[in-house]
């Protein structure tokens, strides 16, 4: 397995072992996925629609219940099939360590931008509003939205909403960020501002797993690119290798399709 060569560097930030997900009784969506991501690494997942990319990301923070296999995030490990209070506590721990950005932003519409950002620290970490605000303002500035501090999401453009959503996740000081097609609901002219924020996040050393068809991000920012088909990896490696010399005929087809 190619992952083995970095095992000796250090403990991986994320370790997924033989992950299966079955919807209903027989919709076998993930078919034994392995993945190790080390700290500070940027991984991009590509693949045709319905191949299981979102399901994989959602299993990492347990928005979906894995059917078999195990998931470990920054030392917190959970195996499918475990039950009980301890496991629930572990899930919450993993969710605090792994921030997630959704395709549809999912900002809380009844809160202003700044309130959205402090919501995690205040409700989940039990901080006071007052002590949470300075860092939230710093994040707003970092995503370039200081002037939208007190706006409700309905008054923000899609790109602005997604940037607030990223800041909301970052307010929890996560160890990993999961992005599920963060730009595919955006008008083309708004994609750049979000990708730019993701790039800066990568530059600052954040561990990132992103499902995105932004080829610029996959090509220039990713350390490794994975291609999924039918719930399996069919290709993985550094982007230059994957894009210039894909091994699998399915991945060649797929890449030809998205690169046009």
């Amino acid at each position: 397995m190619p992952e083995n060569k970095m095992m000796k560097d250090k403990q991986p930030m994320i370790r997924i072992d033989n992950l299966h997900k079955v919807f209903g009784r027989d919709l076998h969506v993930l078919r034994g996925i392995d993945l190790e991501v080390k700290s500070g690494e940027v991984v991009v997942i590509l693949g045709p629609s319905g191949s299981g990319k979102s399901t994989l990301l959602r299993c990492i923070n347990f928005l979906e219940e894995p059917t078999a296999g195990s998931i470990e995030v920054d030392g917190v490990a959970i195996s499918a099939g475990e039950r009980g209070k301890e496991r629930d506590a572990h899930i919450l721990q993993i969710r605090k360590k792994a921030g997630m950005c959704f395709q549809s932003f999912n900002l809380f519409p009844h809160m202003t931008a700044i309130e959205n950002i402090i919501e995690g620290p205040v409700t989940v970490l039990g901080r006071s509003r007052k002590e949470s605000i300075p860092y939230a303002e710093e994040l707003l500035e970092w995503v370039g939205l200081t002037d939208k501090r007190d706006e409700h999401p309905s008054r923000l453009s899609g790109g602005q909403q997604q940037r607030v959503a990223i800041a909301r996740s970052l307010a929890m000081k996560p160890k990993v960020m999961l992005f599920d097609e963060p730009t595919s609901a955006l008008d083309p002219e708004l994609v750049g501002e979000v990708v730019d924020v993701m790039e800066r996040l990568a530059d600052e050393g954040m561990t990132i797993i992103a499902v995105t068809h932004e080829m610029h991000f996959a090509g220039d920012v990713a350390d490794r690119v994975f291609i999924m088909d039918d719930g399996n990896w069919i290709e993985e490696g550094p982007p230059e290798e994957i894009f210039t010399n894909p091994k699998h005929s399915r991945s060649r087809q797929f890449l030809a399709h998205i690169l046009k």
């Binding site: 969710r95 549809s104 809380f108 989940v124």
Partner: protein
């Protein structure tokens, strides 16, 4: 041509001004016409009362006596709606719960209460419950009969509150379910527990959806509260009916009490609109 476009890039052309003026004018005219229409309606209503020869002096003399019944009406309505709101939230959580006991209790509650007439329920609380107490007492449980023998007002509040709670359970459930799944997922992904998710994300948004139908229920409740008169509480409508019968002037009394209810409901509706406007602040693009 080019010069003009460059020097005045942002002026609204005069013909557009005309259009804008006309829109304003139409809007103003609509408001004025609305007020006129309402005024005509009211005058017509009043004229009708004069024509059928209502005894206004009689009405005026008894106004004070009837109005003192408002206290009971409002007391019963407010307590009952408060009880109904609490039951509705608990009921809705039960209906959405994956716990079989909570779920079946809530579903049974809604089904039973919605499936029986309010009138029957009122008598159940007032007349049938003491009998249950008596039976229990005979089985050897001390003091239940006294506990189960409710005075008229608590019985009325319970009957109305439990009944409206069942209807509102469905309203609250629908309100909670109307919130997109993405909201729950975003809250979970931040690390919120289910309880925190409900309190911080779901309820505040559901409330906005729920307020108009709940106000509706409350307005209906104000009028249904007259059912407590069945148990001899001297509330608004009971007084009117009593006096009307005694002096053979039921028409005057009924018209008067109808007007009083109407005014109360208009006030409530006004309050509802204010609350809705207040709640809508976040979602409007233009303020």
């Amino acid at each position: 041509m080019n010069d003009l476009a460059n020097t005045t890039p942002d002026t609204i052309p005069p013909e557009a001004k005309l259009v804008l003026d006309r829109i304003d004018q139409d809007r103003r005219r609509f408001k004025v016409n609305l007020v006129i229409a309402f005024a005509v309606l009211l005058v017509g209503l009043f004229a009708a009362m004069v024509i059928i020869g209502l005894d206004f002096k009689f009405m005026f003399n008894w106004l004070g006596f009837i109005m003192t019944g408002i206290g009971y009406t409002l007391l019963v309505s407010f307590l009952a709606i408060a009880l109904a709101c609490i039951l509705a939230v608990i009921g809705a959580l039960g209906r959405l719960s994956s716990n079989p006991i909570a779920n079946s209790l809530a579903t049974g509650y809604v089904s039973l209460i919605r499936g029986t007439p309010l009138l029957v329920q009122v008598y159940m609380w007032y007349l049938a419950l003491p009998q249950v107490g008596m039976a229990l007492e005979e089985m050897g449980i001390q003091g239940v009969q006294r506990l189960f023998t409710l005075p008229a007002i608590p019985a009325g509040v319970l009957a109305l509150g439990v009944c409206y709670g069942a209807y509102m359970t469905e309203t609250v459930r629908a309100g909670i379910q109307s919130i997109k799944i993405g909201q729950t997922e975003a809250a979970k992904a931040l690390g919120m527990t289910p309880r925190q998710t409900l309190r911080r994300v779901i309820f505040p948004q559901a409330l906005r959806v729920i307020i108009p139908p709940v106000s509706n229920e409350f307005i209906a409740m104000i009028k249904d509260s007259s059912l407590v008169s069945l148990m001899g509480v001297w509330e608004l409508s009971y007084r009117a009916i009593k006096i009307g019968r005694r002096y053979f002037q039921s028409l005057e009394m009924l018209v008067m009490v109808a007007m009083i209810y109407w005014v109360m409901c208009i006030i409530l509706q006004y309050i509802q609109e204010r609350i809705e406007n207040h709640m809508a602040r976040g979602d409007r693009r233009v303020s």
